[in-house]
């Protein structure tokens, strides 16, 4: 079921794969605005839309890495602006704990980003994607984790 695209462009350079989990009301709409404003940004990100960042299960992020993501981005409404009043606070709290765990597990935290992007912040969205993409591109493919997955798959099967 894994993807068709490779870690390379037609011209052969390395291009990272980035997964973004965003909320429906703020960040998804912000990304839409970037589109309607015809802003250009790096094409490496694949968005999965959820109703709220509060819906995001940390397992989603682990699964994304497992499926070959070189970086993961989580973004939702600014604190206080949540469509569901408090969902993003839950997300933030969960994130703090999760981040500590990932750091403890030795994941390079430059591969994992958390941000607030509102429906009007198309520019912020574009800057964020470009920044994250460039940073992860500089880090190179996320081989450590990939290796782990294959190893566990061997043991499991």
């Amino acid at each position: 079921m894994s993807g068709h695209t490779e870690h390379t462009t037609p011209t052969g350079g390395y291009e990272p794969k980035i997964m973004a989990f965003v909320c429906n009301w703020c960040t998804y709409a912000g990304a839409d605005l970037a589109g309607t404003s015809r802003m250009e940004y790096r094409p490496n990100v694949r968005i999965i839309k959820l109703p709220c960042t509060g819906r995001i299960d940390p397992l989603f992020i682990i699964k994304a890495f497992e499926n070959g993501a070189d970086g993961v981005l989580v973004s939702g409404c600014h604190p206080g602006d949540c469509h569901y009043t408090t969902g993003n606070y839950h997300a933030r709290r969960r994130w703090i704990g999760f981040k500590n765990l990932m750091e403890f597990a030795g994941i390079d935290m430059r591969r994992l980003h958390f941000s607030w992007v509102s429906a009007s912040e198309a520019i912020k969205w574009v800057d964020l994607i470009n920044k994250v993409t460039d940073e992860i591109k500089a880090l190179g493919p996320f081989m450590e984790y990939k290796g782990l997955k294959e190893k566990s798959a061997e043991q499991g099967e």
């Binding site: 068709h4 462009t9 094409p43 999965i48 109703p51 819906r55 989603f60 969960r94």
Partner: protein, 657 residues
């Protein structure tokens, strides 16, 4: 094997310019389960939709993907089309290849847009395979409304709902409806008398056959959800039979005891059996039990002796009544900040320092002085009056940080009333800024200054004290940069508008939000100004924050229109994106219950055949759940899932990454 169709839209040239839509369709056709693909110029056009419908039928599709613009644009359109072709609408998913691909990745030669479109569509296809057909949630609606608060906002809401043909229970804490507006003398900027415009509405509310007044009553408990609330109202004992009372007033006449009148803010006295003011609606007196000697010590009983219809019952008790209602309008209004907090202004110590609302009573023709401006201490007509604005407002240290909004206008009105009633009298106004935004408001303030001779001084007052029978007001005039001291006969404080005592308790009963000043929160400050986060509960008037009469009335009507829209159908249909609990694995840790922002999660008892409770599990109330999914991520045993965004669906999409 699923039978999936993939429809790739060119959006004219909007997508096709940078994304090779044909290639996307071709690539998707290679995936297992995809039995039909096409690309087309405008999928959302009528021919496009027709084509989609036909393809569903001809190919017996059980799911489809439209790779086109943002789902925020046309998800509804395509789901409707799918439904028309006999498919469950939630078997139609959108991939956003315009806002996320063609419009942001401009260079076609690099094919970045095409590659990304293929990835995204593939992810959506895998997600779709895990979709379950969903049905809109239908909730029966009880077409009766409860309006809490009988001030002008509540009266307006009740009248409008009744006008729309629905029944209303109007609950008011005091013995009469009318609220704060009943106290006012004239209203800005038109200077028409408050009573003259309010009392007809009060009477209309009383006479309207669809409106039932529950005066001297308070909401004690609220259960249920939109369309199906159960409201428990405490109807306090009036000791007077409302049905039989003719409102003759004999009892009031004969009652030998007097206490301070709360309605008149201590400016005059009332009897122990009383109506708050002469035009009270309903015109039925109540007995103030703590002060009644008959009730407390079984002495007197004069009122019962003179009562013709014999409707006084000293043994009457509070009654709890439950009302089934589909919607609730909260219009509980405001009160003024206690003046005693401001020792420097001498309120309570100096008799002739009064509040703005007390001035309203002095100026009102039905007030304690019959509309003559006479000071409370000795009944003399004051020759100079100092008005102090922003008492507590815009004062984070001692009061509240917000602007009370109405004081600039009513103080200007007070100076006008004063100059009309006391010729030759001089009024002074200490202000911070004049905030007169509103239709004909600025002209009104200019009029007070230019025609009615009010002296406006920009600055704060530091101290008010008595000296030789005069009230000395010491303050700063920041425009001339000097200190001023004014001898006044009376001082009027424009005290801050604050929320009602107990506003927080009521909010907790209703499950609605409030801010740090205990003003109720609207769902969205701009686009949903009368809704709350709890569906079916609406707001109107000053319970949300300071506002003037026109705004309160407009909000009353707005809330009523929301109620009527809700009542326009027997059932309410809602998106089926709600959480659902797996009862077999739920271990009742209640993490979901504390996480839910909407109190949509309840405790459900699982019972054996004898009716003994075996264990407890969480249960989602579909009427209340808004589908945020916070509970899903909070659940440790993975026993809650969000329909439309199930773990399975999300993992399928991630796995196709």
């Amino acid at each position: 094997m699923p039978r999936i169709g993939v429809f790739v839209c060119q959006c004219g040239n909007n997508i096709a310019a940078t994304v090779d839509t044909k290639k996307v369709a071709e690539e998707m056709g290679k995936l297992p389960g995809v039995v039909y693909t096409c690309d087309y110029k405008f999928m959302c056009s009528s021919p496009g939709q027709e084509m989609l419908k036909q393809a569903i039928k001809e190919n017996k599709l059980d799911g489809l993907i439209v790779s086109a613009c943002s789902p925020h644009m046309h998800e509804k359109t395509f789901r409707k089309a799918a439904e028309a072709a006999g498919l469950n609408p939630y078997q139609c998913e959108i991939t956003n290849i315009r806002e996320q691909c063609s419009w942001v990745h401009h260079d076609k030669t690099k094919a970045a847009g095409t590659v990304k479109s293929i990835d995204l569509t593939r992810m959506t296809i895998q997600r779709l395979k895990k979709n379950q057909p969903l049905n809109k949630i239908k909730i029966p609606v009880k077409k009766k409304a409860v309006v809490i608060g009988g001030g002008i906002a509540g009266i307006q809401a009740a009248l409008d709902i009744a006008e729309g043909g629905r029944e209303v229970i109007l609950v008011e804490k005091e013995p009469s409806i009318g609220g704060n507006m009943a106290r006012l003398s004239e209203t800005f900027p038109t200077m028409d008398c408050s009573q003259c415009i309010l009392t007809p509405k009060m009477v209309e509310a009383e006479l309207n056959e669809r409106i039932t007044l529950y005066t001297y009553s308070e909401v004690e408990k609220v259960d249920g959800y939109i369309g199906n609330f159960t409201v428990t109202v405490r109807r306090k004992a009036k000791y007077v039979d409302e049905e039989r009372c003719t409102g003759c007033g004999e009892c009031i006449e004969k009652c030998p005891f007097k206490v301070e009148s709360a309605f008149e803010l201590g400016l005059s006295k009332r009897k122990v059996i009383y109506t708050p003011f002469p035009q009270s609606v309903p015109n039925v007196p109540v007995i103030d039990a703590p002060n009644c000697t008959k009730i407390q010590k079984d002495k007197c009983g004069a009122c019962a002796i003179v009562c013709g219809p014999k409707c006084i019952d000293f043994k009457m008790e509070d009654k709890l009544e439950t009302v089934e209602a589909g919607a609730i309008v909260v219009a509980t209004g405001y009160q003024n900040m206690p003046n005693e907090r401001f020792g420097e202004y001498g309120y309570g110590r100096i008799k002739d320092v009064i509040s703005g609302m007390q001035f309203e009573r002095l100026a009102s023709s039905s007030g304690p002085t019959g509309g003559e401006i006479r000071r409370p201490s000795d009944g003399k007509v004051p020759q100079s009056v100092v008005f102090i604005q922003c008492v507590g407002s815009r004062d984070e240290k001692k009061g509240v940080s917000y602007c009370s909004k109405i004081c600039c206008m009513y103080t200007a009105k007070h100076t006008k009333l004063y100059s009309h009633k006391v010729h030759g009298g001089q009024s002074y106004v200490f202000y911070m800024d004049i905030r007169s935004g509103g239709k004909r408001y600025e002209e009104f303030v200019r009029g007070a200054i230019e025609h009615d001779g009010a002296m406006y001084l920009r600055g704060r007052v530091s101290r008010v004290y008595e000296k030789d029978g005069k009230i000395m007001v010491q303050g700063a005039d920041t425009l001339s940069g000097s200190q001023v001291e004014i001898e006044a006969d009376m001082v009027v404080l424009a005290t801050a508008v604050v929320s009602r005592d107990g506003a927080d308790t009521l909010a907790q009963r209703l499950g609605i939000g409030y801010d740090k000043y205990k003003f109720y929160n609207e769902y969205h400050p701009k686009l949903k100004p009368v809704e709350t986060v709890t569906a079916g509960i609406y707001l109107a008037g000053t319970c949300m924050g300071p506002m003037d009469i026109p705004e309160s009335v407009a909000q009353g009507s707005a809330a009523a229109s929301k109620v009527l829209a809700l009542f326009s159908a027997d059932e309410m249909a809602r998106e089926p994106i709600t959480s659902v609990v797996n009862r077999t694995t739920c271990n009742a840790c209640w993490d979901c219950l504390t996480a839910c922002p909407y109190t949509a999660i309840e405790r459900e008892a699982i019972k054996d055949r004898q009716g003994n409770v075996v264990r407890w599990v969480a249960k989602v109330n579909d009427g209340v759940c808004q589908g945020c999914g916070v509970c899903v991520a909070a659940c440790r045993s993975k026993s809650i899932d969000l329909k439309g965004y199930t773990d399975e669906q999300v993992f399928a999409a991630i796995n196709a990454f």
